[in-house]
């Protein structure tokens, strides 16, 4: 305070000097100069004294802090040297994903995939601003035998669904792991990945057509990892068949069975890969598919029967020296083939005519995502479905079945200011509906709060 006043008066005097000089003789001026000089000297010494004092105080505070830190870490060392501390004492890891979308599309939301009986969560969703699914995850080791977790999906329409609720062994011998409860099936590559880790706003068209978006079921999974340097994992699942929006079957035994194998490894230090082959057999019960009839009306068909799905998948990731920080590249692709036999009810709300249905159809996607500088990535994806063959018996005349092959091309750009936040732009030309090319534009944010979850490859 004192110093400030001194400086202020010194400045005032210094500026005043020329005016005074014209008014007074040189003796006065000398006197004034001397006075100013005196004041300058005095405040400089005061400042110096204050600075020394401040330094002393800081140093002693630093020492106190240091000794406190030392005592603290000594205590931690003493307690931690026996058993490794868990990430959040005894509380489970809790993570929350928040996401929202703005969608601009040239077509309406009456979505269907021409020529495909697809159920579950399909289509690009609503237009305009909307909340996307929020995910709440709670995971922890249960004891020294089990690990478990719950993942709730909070939908924007205020409904809550249990996406995952499983327990998993951690103590079985010979590379075996058993999982039970509700979980995403291990078939394919993308199916097990949570939506917030996807590289695009939506999942591949072929996943929407054949798996109802993403396939999670109530069941049991057994996995075995081979004791080899080459990664080899074999798995089998049984479940109640909750596929594509159906509830599964109320019956003894299982309405779903799957087998899968994954192999993988590294190529040098910069590349790693994984490839897989999966087979999934389900018995969908009353699976409802949006469709357009030959008269152009939006209808709903219903299927019950047997569905057999083959999936071949691969992913290849590259980063210079395996260091993903600056640049990296990811190429992934999957091919799916589905054959179905059973009964299809055409237009359940009005005509409701049921007859035999069988089909053999396929589809694939290929996508590449490149991080060209820290935090920034671009991606390109191509989706293609092959309508193959489908027979509707007496419903043939009502259902569109003209060999149209849906496709889609998607480009995205995303920016991740940190590991926990991501903002994405996506452009797509979606030709999943015949004669209704949908030009889509999305803006999306995905943010994660809480525990730092480890992601799958």
């Amino acid at each position: 305070m004192i110093t400030k006043k001194l400086v202020a008066s010194a400045v005032a005097l210094a500026f005043g000097t020329p005016l005074l000089a014209s008014a007074n003789d040189s003796d006065e001026m000398e006197k004034l100069r001397a006075e100013v000089q005196q004041m300058r000297n005095s405040y400089e010494s005061r400042i110096q004294a204050l600075e020394t004092k401040l330094e002393q105080v800081q140093a002693s505070a630093g020492k106190a802090e240091e000794s406190a830190a030392k005592a603290e870490s000594a205590a931690i060392e003493a307690s931690a040297s026996k058993a490794p501390a868990s990430s959040n004492a005894f509380n489970p890891d809790i993570s929350l994903i928040l996401s929202g979308i703005y969608a601009n599309r040239s077509q309406n939301s009456d979505y269907h995939i021409t020529g495909f009986q697809a159920g579950g969560e399909i289509g690009p969703g609503v237009r305009g601003l909307s909340l996307a699914e929020s995910e709440l995850g709670v995971y922890a080791n249960i004891d020294h035998y089990f690990y478990g977790g719950l993942n709730l999906a909070l939908a924007p329409d205020n409904t809550v669904s249990v996406e995952e609720a499983f327990v998993q062994t951690t103590a079985l011998p010979a590379g075996l792991t058993v999982k039970g409860g509700r979980f995403f099936s291990g078939v394919g590559y993308l199916n097990e990945q949570h939506a917030h880790t996807w590289d695009f706003v939506d999942n591949p068209l072929v996943y929407q057509a054949f798996l109802g978006g993403q396939y999670g079921d109530d069941g049991v999974q057994v996995k075995w990892v081979a004791p080899t340097d080459l990664f080899l994992e074999l798995g089998a699942e049984a479940g109640r068949g909750r596929i594509a929006g159906t509830e599964g079957k109320d019956k003894n035994g299982a309405a779903m069975g799957s087998l899968f194998a994954h192999v993988g490894g590294d190529i040098g230090v910069s590349s790693s890969w994984r490839a897989g082959l999966s087979y999934l057999r389900t018995s969908p019960d009353k699976r409802q598919s949006p469709d357009l009839d030959t008269a152009g009306s939006f209808i709903t068909n219903q299927f019950s029967g047997t569905s057999r799905l083959w999936i071949a998948d691969f992913v290849w990731k590259w980063a210079p020296n395996g260091n993903t920080n600056v640049t990296n590249f990811k190429l992934q692709g999957e091919y799916l083939h589905r054959s179905e036999t059973g009964d299809l009810t055409y237009d359940i709300d009005h005509v409701a005519s049921a007859d035999r249905y069988s089909s053999s159809q396929s589809g694939w996607y290929l996508q590449g995502v490149y991080q060209f500088r820290p935090y920034w990535r671009v991606g390109l994806r191509y989706d293609q479905l092959d309508s193959g063959s489908a027979s509707y018996d007496s419903n043939t005349a009502s259902i569109v079945n003209d060999g149209y092959d849906p496709s889609r091309i998607t480009a995205m750009l995303d920016y991740s200011p940190s590991e926990f936040s991501r903002i994405r732009l996506q452009l797509a030309q979606d030709k999943s509906r015949e004669n209704q090319t949908d030009n889509q534009f999305f803006v999306q944010y995905i943010m994660s709060l809480g525990a730092h979850g480890a992601h799958k490859f």
Binding site: E72, E233, G265, D266, G322, T324, H452
Partner: protein, 301 residues
């Protein structure tokens, strides 16, 4: 035909039995712990390094190759302190190997045996990638290596009791050589005491604590956040008032930010190996510290 079956059966049997008789399989999360286990275990261990010095260990993926190696491991040697939190839990769970799960003797965290620095007083992601249990880059202080070696030698003996005497003897031998080396390094590094430095990532508090270096600024605005041009300008400005002798970074850090600062502040930019394999000279733990101190001394000239 019978002969072929017999041969095949024999081959399979050999494959199944051999790994059990061979060396103890070590899954080392970072190369410094791989090197340390090799020093202590000699030919009784077979070490696999899950990462290498040119990788940022915070950002490693739960790759299939890691899962395969974790599957056959008898002992995982990692840093802990949340350094590997983004990938190790996934690798361990997917490996189906009950021996190396947290809490088991086959799971070793080096961070439990050293005095931890930079334990944050508040936990907020707004502060960047802070670790609740303190700064995990403990390997840059040679005295920490000695502490970890003491605990690791005991753990090797616990996991592989048949060779306990062997590990004990190797540990005694290593400790002797290491203590001599620490004395040598401390003498060599004496001129560095009190020297002001700028770091790229806050990866060197243990080195600073050991050699008495004074960190005046970091190029990352917050831990784990890549340097921004505005923050670099601030650091440059700060250096005018509070000069530093050099700017140091780990081998895996992108060199652009420290080069930018080095050119403008007219101070040397130094890449330290950070772990075994971080440069051509850092071939084992001894040469890692030889090289680290030599690089600091060269730059301080």
């Amino acid at each position: 035909m019978h002969k072929l079956i017999k041969t095949l059966a024999f081959a399979l049997l050999t494959l199944a039995v051999l790994p059990a008789q061979a060396a103890l399989n070590i899954f080392a999360c970072e190369p410094e712990w791989g090197a340390l286990t090799q020093e202590l275990g000699g030919d009784k261990v077979s070490v696999y390094n899950a990462t290498q010095a040119l990788q940022d260990v915070h950002h490693v993926q739960a790759k299939p190759s890691l899962i395969a190696k974790a599957r056959s491991a008898n002992l995982a040697v990692c840093t802990g302190m949340e350094l590997e939190i983004g990938w190790l839990p996934m690798v361990l769970r997917q490996s189906g190997n009950s021996e190396i799960q947290p809490g088991k003797p086959g799971y070793f965290e080096a961070g439990n045996y050293v005095r931890r620095l930079e334990i944050p007083s508040r936990l907020d992601r707004a502060d960047g990638d802070v670790h609740a249990q303190g700064n995990p880059h403990i390997q840059t202080d040679a005295r920490n290596i000695a502490k970890v070696a003491d605990a690791l030698a005991q753990r090797l003996a616990e996991v592989d009791p048949a060779n306990a005497a062997f590990y004990k003897q190797r540990h005694q031998d290593f400790s002797q050589r290491w203590q001599d080396a620490i004395k040598r390094w401390e003498t060599q590094a004496a001129p560095l005491k009190g020297m002001s430095i700028v770091v790229q990532h806050k990866g060197f508090p243990y080195l600073e604590d050991w050699l008495g270096l004074k960190e005046v600024a970091a190029l990352e605005p917050k831990p784990g956040v890549e340097p921004t041009s505005s923050h670099l300008a601030e650091v440059l400005d700060q250096l005018k008032r509070q000069p530093a002798k050099m700017v140091i970074r780990a081998a895996y850090n992108d060199d652009r930010a420290s080069q930018w600062l080095a050119e403008r502040a007219k101070i040397p930019a130094v890449a330290l190996p950070f772990s075994v394999g971080g440069d051509d000279k850092a071939k084992d733990l001894f040469s890692l510290f030889d090289d680290t101190i030599q690089r600091l001394l060269d730059a301080a000239k």
